[in-house]
């Protein structure tokens, strides 16, 4: 187990940032999702050893985070969301310097800096001052500094922010390769759910300081049951009541189309029968595959909108 949080509570003064969360991160890639203020940053700070839990336990690599913060940070690579560099350094100097700060010998750090810069695609620009880099190059140098000491776990905070489509595609390929073929576990925080869905087989959704959903995306899709998108003509409320009685769940939808998760005993036939009973016409009925966005929206809005 890479990260293990058990009933973790972290507070800032009167504000409870993490409220009794239990989270286990296995090897591989995991997406950490949540709206702004959900507690993602607090979770990362706690794992990095900057915050002391009020109650519960936080372990990384089997070590308590509050007592082994430096050892844990040595084994973690962190790619921040905001641009950050050491003024006056070129990419080689900067990356080697980051390696030295992680405890590498100077000669090792320098050699490793060249390797990593080549790997992230900055080999041609490695002697240029970082301040002259484009947004895409800055994202790559942030990844390089996170990788230079060969971490066991990578925290990637919005790695595709500000990238053009080609740059985004290249960055996602890099991250996917690192997490799937290079044996470096990855915790990916992103608001771009399609990026997370592409890289991570598992996700955890944080909302108001609690983990509201976690697990393998495939399993989470299965939990929703068979989902159908449908449009009806007539009064919606009686139809909704009919579906609710049968144990169907309405999922959040952005337009007039309804999205409904059916119980295992139900199929399209039962939907038509329910429509007939409530005197509405079904104009559109297609099975849909639940996306990560559905899982996310359902998780954070679940209590308010999901149930019929």
């Amino acid at each position: 187990m890479i990260i293990e949080l058990q009933d973790l509570k972290v507070v800032y003064g009167r504000l409870t940032a993490l409220d009794g969360i239990t989270f286990r991160m296995e090897e591989g890639a995991t997406g950490l999702l949540g709206p702004n203020g959900a507690g993602k940053s607090t979770l990362i700070k706690t794992v990095l050893g900057f915050l002391t839990p009020r109650s519960g336990t936080a372990f990384a690599f089997g070590m308590p985070t509050e007592h082994h913060a430096r050892e844990i940070r040595r084994r973690i690579g962190y790619m921040p969301e905001n641009d950050g560099h050491i003024p006056g350094m070129n990419a080689v100097q900067f990356t080697a310097y980051c390696g030295e700060l992680c405890g590498m010998r100077r000669s090792d750090a320098l050699q490793r800096a060249h390797e990593v810069l080549y790997y992230v695609g900055l080999e041609e620009a490695r002697y240029r001052n970082i301040e002259t880099y484009s947004t895409g190059m800055k994202q790559r140098i942030k990844l390089a500094q996170a990788l230079v000491h060969d971490p066991e776990l990578l925290f990637l905070d919005e790695p595709t922010n500000g990238l053009d489509p080609k740059g985004r595609e290249e960055m996602l390929q890099l991250v996917a390769e690192i997490s799937s073929r290079r044996g470096i576990s990855t915790l990916l925080c992103s608001h771009l759910l399609s990026d997370v869905e592409r890289i991570c087989p598992r996700v955890a959704v944080l909302h108001q300081g609690r983990i509201v959903t976690q697990g393998a995306i495939e399993e989470l899709r299965g939990e929703q049951g068979d989902i159908y998108e449908l449009r009806i003509k007539g009064e919606k409320e009686p139809f909704r009541e009919e579906l609710k009685k049968a144990g169907c769940r309405e999922l959040p939808s952005h337009n007039e189309t309804m999205r409904v998760a059916l119980p295992s005993s139900w199929g399209p036939r039962q939907v038509f029968q329910a429509a007939a009973r409530s005197a509405v016409q079904i104009r559109h009925l297609v099975p849909v595959r639940d996306t990560l966005e559905d899982i996310f929206m359902n998780s954070i809005d679940g209590g308010e909108h999901a149930d019929l």
Binding site: K45, A69, G88, C98, L101, M104
Partner: protein, 284 residues
């Protein structure tokens, strides 16, 4: 011929222990500054007083060969070294303005703190590393030339007994240089941490220095007494320096107010730095 994978390769080395991370920061900072030509020129100019004093030593010991007489007020005792360090205060000030004002401000501007603190370093490593940069240059223009002058003095004198009698001067040079490096360095770092703009930080430091001098000047004129010297940052250094070298005071004031003021400034600077540099903000 083997074909190597140019993709990602794992690092097989063993990381070093964490006790010397501050030294990595110091070494990198010193390296970056000495690569600047303007700073090197400043460093060389600041050593001109050392060359002049070295010449004075030579003239003192070899005046007969040179057919040259030093003025009668010239004394080759502890005041010779104290005066040298006293005049180096100006160069320390210039060097702090040039090299120190951006040490933390530039890191704040470029979000470098999140890079530093996502690595296995502590706040104290960061502060010690930055202080080490300033300390290196301050000691390079005070301790190093001071000790060299002392060595030249002893070599020219060629008297083993004199070395034994005057060895305490070398210790005084060390103490006075360390005091100036520590307090000035902490003060400059604290001012640098107040802003993301290094020029502004330098300006505030200059204003503080100038203001303290002005306050002392005004009070001295009004009271016609030098017992207000503790209001001036520079005079506090000089008063403590006089005590370290065992010289009679040029101010009508005991040494303890100066020690107190410098201690308070040092402690306040440390607290400001501890408050401004917060590793917890590594994740925003």
């Amino acid at each position: 011929m083997p074909i190597y994978d140019l993709g990602y390769r794992h690092w097989k080395g063993k990381p070093l222990a964490g006790e010397r991370r501050w030294w990595t920061i110091t070494r990198a900072g010193v390296g970056m500054l000495v690569r600047r030509r303007n700073f090197l020129i400043l460093l060389v100019i600041s050593l001109v007083p050392f060359i002049i004093r070295g010449g004075m030593l030579y003239a003192f010991f070899f005046s007969e060969q040179l057919h040259f007489r030093l003025p009668p007020f010239f004394k080759l005792d502890e005041s010779f070294y104290y005066d040298f360090l006293k005049w180096q205060l100006f160069w320390i000030f210039v060097m702090l303005m040039y090299a120190g004002s951006g040490l933390v401000a530039n890191d704040l501007r470029s979000n470098a703190l999140q890079i530093y603190f996502s690595k296995p370093i502590r706040r104290i490593d960061y502060l010690a590393g930055k202080l080490g940069i300033l300390g290196t240059f301050i000691l390079a223009v005070t301790l190093l030339p001071g000790w060299l002058l002392f060595l030249i003095h002893m070599l020219f004198a060629g008297d083993g007994q004199l070395l034994q009698q005057k060895a305490w001067i070398a210790v005084s040079i060390l103490l006075f240089s360390l005091l100036m490096a520590l307090i000035n360095g902490m003060l400059m770092l604290a001012f640098s941490s107040f802003s993301r703009n290094s020029r502004f930080a330098g300006l505030v430091f200059f204003a503080f220095y100038f203001f303290s001098e002005s306050v002392y000047g005004l009070l001295r004129v009004i009271s016609r007494d030098t017992n207000w010297a503790f209001c001036s940052l520079k005079n506090n250094y000089l008063r403590v320096g006089e005590a370290i070298f065992g010289l009679p005071s040029s101010f009508n004031m005991p040494v303890w107010p100066s020690v107190l003021v410098l201690s308070v400034l040092g402690a306040a600077s440390f607290l400001v730095l501890y408050w401004r540099i917060r590793p917890v903000e590594v994740v925003k």
